[in-house]
Amino acid sequence: MTKGKKKLRTSNSGQLLIVAALAIAILISSTTVYVYELSRETNSSNAASIADLILALKQNTRNTMISSLANVSNGGERAVLTANLNTLAQVVRSLTHFGTLVLDFATLNDSNYDSGIWLSWNTSDMGTSSTDANFTLRVYGEETTIAANYEINVTTKTTIAGFYVTLGGSEKLVNLTCSVFNEEKSALAKNITLLYQDSGSWVNVDSSNNLSVIDRGNGTYSISFTIQTTAAIIPVSAHTYDMRNIFVQANTTCSAA
């Protein structure tokens, strides 16, 4: 009986050893899997950092385009856009935190855009100031090389429409509706200067014309002013600066209501 127990204990201790080895093996492998998963999370956060970097550089490419359009729409040379983008590309190259960064660009040239710039201020009832370029950003990191292609378009558009009412004699009340858009979305204007044409010359509208501008808060402005003219058709021009200091001009002709 005792001999049998001893024999059983001996065989049990062998089984116990196998079970213990198995438990340790499970423990080690589960720990390894956990550590591996955690390291994967760290790698994905590195990828997220590069994604953040690309987003930040995209933002600054946009800022550069806005700066260039503000310059060109205020009388600057079209070449300013290329010069500014070259300056940005040079600064991007100086960043070393994520590896080597290279920013290439191509300004748009088509029926509207010339060297990436489109200024259309003579179209009836609408004016457009726009810039467009394509970019390729390459990130040569220690482990990965990432290339991101994107297009940036910055556009300020303004529309104007109106009519006049004869108040008596040659005095006329002009009513206008002016709207401002940034990238096809309603945007606020920083300043709107109005002019009307009388006897072939453009005259500024000011407070002496009982000028009233009602800001609707959604990029639409209701404007009214009075003028003395015998003309049946009154050409009106709106010179607008948006909040980014981009200039745009729109013309319309007002007839009697």
């Binding site: 999370e41 760290t42 997220a48 950092s49 970097l53 930040a56 800022n63 040079q90 190259r93």
Partner: protein, 154 residues
């Protein structure tokens, strides 16, 4: 036969001793591997935390740069407004040190702020570094490079 039986018993005792040594060795190995694994986990976790801190910093700068305010503050030399704006955007409990550089003569960088732009005592063990380019939206383009060190306030 008797002598051999005594010898076998002695051998069993000696074997038991060896098993004890192996057991002890295994126990020490398990404990040390547990230490090693936990040390590795701590390192990974702090790296992740540092990454997220950098991400928070970068996103805060981007938010400030969205409407051109960041470039405007720097161009105007209004570093107090810049510090206050960044302090407002960053979550509570994050401290920062900020330095602004401007590129001159091709690739040389010149520091713009003479005083350190900071929101308080920077005494954190967990530090994240963010490098950010800021192009102004003004009609005359200016490009700045911003270096920010972020840490958890202690």
């Amino acid at each position: 036969m008797y002598g051999l039986g005594w010898g076998s018993s002695r051998l069993k005792k000696a074997d038991r001793g060896q098993i004890r040594i192996i057991e002890a060795f295994l126990a020490v190995l398990i404990i040390f591997s547990a230490f090693a694994v936990s040390a590795d986990l701590t390192g990974s976790r702090s790296a992740t935390k540092s990454e997220s801190l950098a991400s928070i910093g970068l996103h805060s700068l981007m938010k400030l740069d969205q409407d051109g305010r960041l470039g405007m503050y720097i161009t105007d030399g209004d570093f107090t407004a810049l510090r206050e704006a960044l302090d407002l955007i960053l979550p509570a409990g994050i401290c920062f040190n900020l330095t602004v550089y401007v590129t001159v003569y091709d690739e040389q960088m010149q520091r713009l702020n003479t005083d350190v732009i900071t929101n308080g005592g920077f005494n954190s063990q967990e530090v994240a570094f963010v490098e950010y380019i800021c192009a102004s939206q003004s009609a005359t383009l200016r490009c700045y490079v911003i270096h920010v060190n972020l840490g958890m306030a202690t």
